[in-house]
Symmetry: C2
Amino acid sequence: MAGRVITIKDVAEMAGVSKATVSRVMNNSGYVAAETRRKIENIMETYDYMPSTLAVNLSKQETKVVGVVLPEIENTFYSDILHGITQVADELDLSLVLFDTQNNLEREKKAFRVLQQQKVRGIILGPSVDYPETEEGRELLARLKEYSVPIVIIDRDFANMPWDAVLYENYQCSYQAALELYKAGNRKMAVITGDMDMKISRDRLEGFRKGLEDCGLTLQEEDIYYGDFLIKRSYELSMELLSRKELPDAVYTSNNQTTLGFLKAMNEKRMVIGEDIALMGNDRIETLDILGIPFSCVYRDNYEMGRMALRLLQERVKHPKKARNICMIPYQVKLKGSEKRKKK
Amino acid sequence: MAGRVITIKDVAEMAGVSKATVSRVMNNSGYVAAETRRKIENIMETYDYMPSTLAVNLSKQETKVVGVVLPEIENTFYSDILHGITQVADELDLSLVLFDTQNNLEREKKAFRVLQQQKVRGIILGPSVDYPETEEGRELLARLKEYSVPIVIIDRDFANMPWDAVLYENYQCSYQAALELYKAGNRKMAVITGDMDMKISRDRLEGFRKGLEDCGLTLQEEDIYYGDFLIKRSYELSMELLSRKELPDAVYTSNNQTTLGFLKAMNEKRMVIGEDIALMGNDRIETLDILGIPFSCVYRDNYEMGRMALRLLQERVKHPKKARNICMIPYQVKLKGSEKRKKK
DNA sequence: TTGAAAGCGCTAACAT
DNA sequence: ATGTTAGCGCTTTCAA
C-alpha cells in the first residue's frame, strides 16, 4: 500500500519478462515456466502489486459489478433484502453499486443510466412504480427491454413483467389471511390497502376479498381504506377507521408501514390490539414479536429474497438464453391474538 | 439504448471531426465552434451516445465512486445512516459501492482491497472492530494509514483515530442518561453494556458511572452486565438480571440491540416497562414510540450522520490538506416512563 | 478552432 | 514458454 502504485509494466521490468507473461500468471492463462511464475509472484508479493480494476475492466469490456436499485432502503423490508444480497455478493466476489430511488422514477432512470455506462453484470431492481401504470413508466419499460443487461425484479411485480424475478404470492397469502381471521371468529373485516396503482396492492386486496367470499362474507366498500403503503397515510386512515361507531372485528394491513400506521392510531385511541380489535398484517415486525404484542401476519423471509435475487442474476449471466425464472418465495403465517376481540 | 453501443470514435466519424473535438464538447473543455458543437450534440442525442465510464475512469485515473463499508446494514441504525449517504450521493452525483462486513475483519480487509483497486474517491467506514485492540487490527490500521484515499469514520471511534469522522458524544450522553434516571427518582441502577473491546462501549459505561457518582451514587460491579451490543447476549443477561430477588429501579442499555434484548426478557418475565422497572436506552426505536411504550433514550439522528459523513468526505477530497474534521452529532434525550417504578 | 498522437494499465491474438 | 502488438474508449498535450 505504501509508496507509489506499481503497475504491470513495473512488475514485468523487474522480473525481466514481458507484460504478457505477468498477465498470464495473474490470470492463470497460457503457459508459464514454474520458475518464471515464482519469480513474478515473488515480486508481486514484495511490492504488494494490485492490478488496476479500471484497466482490467476496460480491456475486458466487462466488470464484476452488480447494480442494486431499491426504492427505500430505510425500510427494514428492503434493508433485509439488501443484507441478503450483500452476503451472496461476498460469496461470488461481486461488487455492489447501490442506488436508493426513494420511489422516484427520475432517480431510477438516472441509476440505469449510470449502471449502463459502467457495463455492470446485471441489475437487481425493486421498481419504484408499476411501470405499465403511467406514460413515463411505459417509456422506461420499453427502453429497459432493449437493454441487454440482465435484470432481476424484486418484490414488486407488474403486468407482463418480462424479467427474472423474486416474488411473493400476494393473492394467495391475502386469501389465507382472510381465512385465518375468519377461523379465529372474526366476521366484520376492514382492510388498509397499499397504493392501488400497484399490482401487488390490487392482488392483496383481491385475494383478501376472495378469501372472505369463500367464507361466505362480503368485503364492504366502506371497509376498504385506500392507502399508499406509507405509515402516515395509514395512520390517518386508521384514525378514521377507529372513530367509527361500529368497529370491525379485525383489520388487515398491507405491509409493515401500514401496520405501523394502524398501531400508531391504536395507541393514540388508547386501544389495545387483540382486545379492542384483531390485527393481521403483511410482513413481520420483529420488534412486535419481541414485545409479545398479539399481532398476526403473513410474511416471507426477506433476507432469503435478497439472496435468491442475486443467485438468479448469476444464473442468468451464465445462461443468457435459458427460460425465464420466477422464484416465488413461500409465505408463512404467524398467528397471535387474531381471535375475535373479547371486549365489546 | 437499442442496437449497438456507440463510441466516441463513431460520433467523431459521423460528425466528420476528430475524437478530440467530441471529447471537448462533452467536457466543455477547450474551444469548439458553435456550429461544430451543435452538430456533435445532435448526433450524440440521436444515437443516445453515452461515454463509457470504464474508459473515462482509466483515462483520468479517477472515478466518481465512494466506497461504503458498514458492519451490519440489517441494523436500522446503519440502514438509516446508509439512507443518508445515498441521498447526498445522489446530490453529488457519486456512485456508492457497498460492503457489509458483518463485523468481520477479514471481510473488511477484502473490501479495502477491492476499493483500492478501483481508485475510489474515498471511503466511508463503520469499523467492524476497535483496531487498536487486536494485533490484526493494528496491522490493518497501519496499512490504512499509508493509504492515500480519504477515509471518514462513522460512529465507532477508537483510540488515536487518525481520520475525519462523524461521531457521537458517548461519554456525555451516558452521563446525561444517568442524571435523568436519577432525577426521575431512581436510585439503584443497572447497565447492560456493549462490547468492552470497543471504546464506545467503555465511554458509555464510564459516562454513566460518572453520572451516577455526581449524583452521589455508586455503580456496583454486580449491576454491570457485560454484553456485546447484540440482542441475543443482552437477552440472556437481562434474564439473569430480572431473576434477581432485588430488582434495580432502572436499567441503562447501550444500543438498540441491547434494548431489544432487554425487552424480550421483560416480555418473557411478564414484566412491564415503567411499572416493574424503568428503562433508558441508547438509540431510538421507532416502533416503541409508535406503540407508546414508555421507553426513555438518548439518541442521535442517524440519517443526518450519514449525510454528514459523505459531506465530510467531499470536503476532504476538495481540500486534502485541511485540518482534520471531527463532526460530533448532538445527542437528544427522550423521556418517557423513566420515573422510579410504581409497583414494589 | 481543430487534429494527431501518445497514454491510461491491462488483455488476447498471433508470432516465435 | 515467452514476446510483440494491437486494441479497449476515452483524455490530454502539442502542433498546426
